[in-house]
């Protein structure tokens, strides 16, 4: 019957000065079937509003007429809705529309195929070009590598020849004594003097 409230509405309810200890607020359907009747309504007998028989007869007649008309209208509208649906699906215009749509579809499919063929040709050309480019690059790279190989071989041969040339001046076991005596006989002087202007003086004090 009563709802206990809490929160902000407590302040409002307090202002309204409740007599009970618990703060309650009024809710729709306050009284349950076991609550006693209020004092002011003790001897009350609920009476429905008075019905005028003449008016009632007239009203009943009007209602029957109204319901008849409403039923007729409803059936009419139902028939109209059905007819519209039928016309939509199997009417005179439906076939034409279907035919037009089929034609459009065929035209679009043809156009699509044309486009596909065109793109295919372009694609083939492009792929061919790319393949040729790749082959050319490969060939060039091979040539380059060959050239580099040749160059390196030549370098190595030159090095070998230089080494052979220098090998003639090497000191071996047979030359050892001879070269030592030669070195002792000709002392070489590596000292020199240079000044800021770049004049070189090779004559120095011999030891």
């Amino acid at each position: 019957m009563f709802q206990v409230i809490s929160g902000r509405s407590i302040q409002v309810a307090r202002l309204l000065a409740p007599r009970s200890a618990v703060l309650v607020e009024a809710v729709r359907g306050r009284k349950s079937r076991t609550d006693p009747v209020a004092k002011s309504k003790e001897g009350r007998i609920k009476v429905p509003p008075p019905v005028d028989p003449v008016e009632m007869v007239v009203l009943k007649e009007r209602y029957t007429e109204y319901q008849l008309m409403m039923r007729a209208l409803r059936l009419e509208f139902k028939e109209e809705v059905l007819r519209k649906k039928y016309e939509e699906e199997t009417g005179s215009l439906a076939e034409e529309r279907a035919r037009q749509e089929a034609e459009e579809h065929r035209a679009l499919m043809a156009f699509n195929n044309q486009e596909n063929l065109r793109m295919l040709k372009l694609r083939i050309l492009r792929i061919q070009k790319e393949k040729e480019e790749a082959e050319r690059k490969q060939v060039e790279a091979a040539i380059q590598r060959e050239q580099e190989q040749q160059e390196s071989i030549k370098e190595k041969e030159r090095d070998i020849l230089k080494l052979q040339e220098e090998a003639k001046n090497f000191i071996t076991l047979e030359n050892l004594d001879q070269r030592i005596e030669e070195a002792l006989d000709n002392p070489k002087n590596y000292n020199f003097a240079i000044d800021k202007e770049g004049r070189v003086v090779k004559q120095t004090m011999l030891q």
Partner: protein
């Protein structure tokens, strides 16, 4: 011929379609504005509807008119599919001429006319009595 309403309405939870007034959500106190709406029976009054079929402004405007609008084509479709109009919607459509006049409207008008006649004759009697006395 298949019964059209069952074809169209069995999809939902066993309810039926009604054409009724729903308060448009303007959220202004003391200024109502109704939409005439086709909705399922069990939905809230202002909740999700299937289609809006018109509007109704209950307060008269500056030229003393109450404005109502209807989408007759769609109303015909929904009634053909088995929608029930409520009493106020039926009364409005009766006034518009689309439906026959609702019987309760006629009886209420007659009652009001009887009351006004009573008060008019009462005033005349009072005047006559006053003249006689005078």
């Amino acid at each position: 011929m298949v019964h059209l309403s069952s074809l169209l309405l069995k999809k939902y939870h066993g309810g039926y379609v009604v054409i009724r007034l729903a308060l448009a959500g303007h959220k202004q106190a003391n200024r109502p504005f109704y939409r005439i709406v086709a909705a399922y029976n069990k939905r809230a009054r202002d909740g999700k509807y299937i289609e809006q079929l018109g509007s109704y402004d209950p307060l008269p405007n500056i030229y003393n008119e109450k404005l109502v609008s209807f989408n007759f084509d769609r109303i015909k479709y929904w009634i053909g599919c088995g929608a029930h109009p409520t009493k106020p919607v039926a009364k409005l459509l009766g006034l518009a001429g689309f439906f026959p006049l609702h019987p309760m409207m006629i009886t209420e008008a007659e009652r009001r006319r009887a009351l006004t006649e009573l008060t008019a004759t009462g005033a005349e009697d009072g005047l006559q009595e006053g003249q006689n006395v005078a």
